[in-house]
């Protein structure tokens, strides 16, 4: 027993000393740590460098404030007019998120219908492709005429812009099951709804999320484009106002506010994806 203990102690004691004494390993560890810091620091340095170039260009060429603002003026505007910016972000957020929910829900429902009733897909998919080929800026006035000046046309535009990628991806996902998996379900005498619930739906989830990540950004684009046409509030309306007033600092601040929301929305969907889809390895 004592012998055994002594042996374990000796074995346990040897490797750490050997590692400490190994200069090659120490160098390797240092290089790894440096590479980690590089990955974190370099993007920040890149952003700082671009901000400096922006500031220097405005200062050196004496660019007038109604043409382009310098970065510190934009930062100041964001701080001073934060209440105006947030008051206008609020309706855009509601429109984008409502449109996102509506467009994706309809797309998922229609994808399920397409997969189970092939003739519906054959009859209507070409029309969907045709409608999708109309540019958003052309669809927007039509919807404003149809739905008036409130939030409804903006929500509709955001929904339409989300609809197509989700429909296409969801159909692909629901059909991405192997013939052998279908044979397995047949041997188990699974019913149609069981095949849908246990096989098709889980298979489609990763496909759905790649569409939702696209939709998160495009729904904000849809809401802003909708606000360009006949709206008093929202990020889109504020962009138009600032442009006509030659208030470049407010214009830039508005754009940054809208983008920040877009990025946060995207990150929220990606976080949800990582929580829901644990069986597919995600890139870091």
């Amino acid at each position: 027993m004592a012998q055994e203990l002594g042996l374990t102690a000796a074995v346990a004691a040897t490797p750490p000393r050997a590692i400490e004494a190994d200069p090659a390993r120490a160098n390797w560890l240092a290089a790894q740590a440096w590479a980690r810091w590089q990955r974190r620091l370099l993007p920040l340095l890149g952003a700082a460098a671009l901000l400096f170039v922006w500031w220097a260009l405005v200062a050196v060429f004496d660019v007038k404030p109604y043409v382009a603002p310098s970065p510190e003026v934009v930062a100041l505007t964001m701080a001073q007019k934060s209440n105006v910016l947030l008051a206008n972000l609020w309706p855009t957020m509601i429109e984008a998120i409502s449109g996102f929910a509506l467009g994706n829900l309809i797309a998922i429902a229609i994808a399920i219908l397409f997969v189970h009733r092939k003739w519906v897909e054959m009859a209507f998919f070409p029309i969907v492709v045709l409608i999708n080929s109309i540019p958003v800026v052309a669809k927007a006035p039509i919807l404003v005429l149809l739905l008036g000046n409130g939030m409804a046309p903006k929500i509709a535009i955001a929904a339409i812009i989300c609809f197509f990628p989700t429909l296409v991806n969801m159909v692909r996902g629901l059909e991405a099951i192997s013939p052998q998996a279908m044979e397995l379900m047949h041997v188990l005498s699974a019913r149609k709804w069981e095949i849908f619930l246990r096989l098709r739906l889980p298979t489609s989830i990763p496909y759905l999320f790649s569409a939702l990540k696209i939709a998160a950004s495009t729904s904000v684009v849809g809401a802003i484009v909708g606000e360009w046409i006949g709206s008093q509030v929202g990020i889109g309306a504020l962009i138009i106002q600032a442009t006509y007033n030659f208030d470049s600092a407010l214009l830039y601040a508005t754009v940054i506010t809208g983008s920040a929301f877009s990025v946060l929305f995207f990150l929220a969907i990606r976080t949800l994806e990582r929580l829901c889809v644990r069986w597919v390895p995600h890139p870091a």
């Binding site: 052998q180 397995l184 699974a190 246990r198 644990r278």
Partner: protein
């Protein structure tokens, strides 16, 4: 005679596990009609282990799918435990193992084994072996909660076997289950399959294109010729039971494998 053939056997326990009579399967390919199987007749006794050997494209997999009610024969009849294949399938008498493990990627090993309980009305009755027991039977205790992408190819195939065994099916159909595995893993799984067969007493119909696998596992080897698939010969394998891998080094096994190879060359 014909009346006896048409009527249901009175005691189904006496019925052969699998019985094919004059089974022909035709497919329509875009250009022409393809005869995958022609006039196949053979009988498999309950509890036996039959391997199906033949060149690729001879219809081995088609034959297995006709027994499992995945495809219907164009002519002839298939009986499983004296019943139509569809009845046997609904009674959960058939377990099927595919070449690809076909595990659901979002389910852990144990949840994949449980799948037969959750679809198609669940198991026939209370299962004799629990999902946990079945994973232990295929040597995977301790891996219950591993996800498929965390398992090796051989381990995934073991999970697929455990899943096929849930509900104690009396027939196990295996379609080249170890075809995609390396030789070392394949040998080990061959031994474990023989162990499972002895433990469960299930009837096994096993498709392979490996001569050694066919001879080592089967009590009989059914050899199919190709284009169209026909029964070429049924070779009894008179090797002592229980078998171990070392049997493959004996002259007796070598002679058997040589004989199978000679028949295969004329297929």
């Amino acid at each position: 005679m014909s009346a006896a053939l048409l009527s249901e056997p009175a005691d189904l326990a006496d019925a052969p596990a699998i019985e094919l009579r004059g089974v022909t399967v035709r497919f329509m390919s875009p250009q022409r009609e393809v005869v995958a199987l022609e006039d196949i007749s053979f009988t498999v006794q309950p509890g036996s282990f039959l391997t199906l050997l033949g060149p690729s494209g001879c219809g081995k997999s088609t034959l297995l799918r006709a027994v499992a009610d995945i495809i219907a024969p164009s002519n002839g009849s298939v009986r499983v435990l004296g019943h139509a294949p569809a009845d046997a399938r609904r009674r959960r008498d058939i377990g099927f193992v595919f070449q690809d493990s076909t595990l659901l990627a979002w389910r852990s090993a144990i949840d994949n084994v449980r799948l037969p309980l959750q679809v198609g009305g669940g198991a026939r009755s209370t299962v004799r072996r629990s999902p946990e027991d079945l994973l232990a039977l295929v040597g995977l205790s301790g891996w219950e909660h591993a996800m498929p992408h965390e398992l090796s190819g051989g381990m995934r195939q073991r999970v697929a076997i455990a899943r096929a065994l849930l509900g104690d099916p009396r027939i196990l159909l295996m379609d080249e289950p170890f075809g995609a595995l390396d030789e070392i893993t394949r040998d080990r799984l061959n031994d474990e399959l023989l162990h499972v067969w002895r433990e469960t007493g299930t009837t096994i119909l096993f498709v392979t294109h490996s001569i050694h696998e066919a001879a080592y596992l089967g009590q009989q080897v059914l050899m199919l010729s190709s284009h169209p698939g026909r029964v070429r010969e049924i070779v009894p394998i008179d090797l002592p039971e229980p078998r171990h891998l070392s049997i493959r080094d004996t002259a007796e096994f070598g002679a058997l494998a040589g004989r199978l190879r000679a028949i295969l060359e004329t297929c």
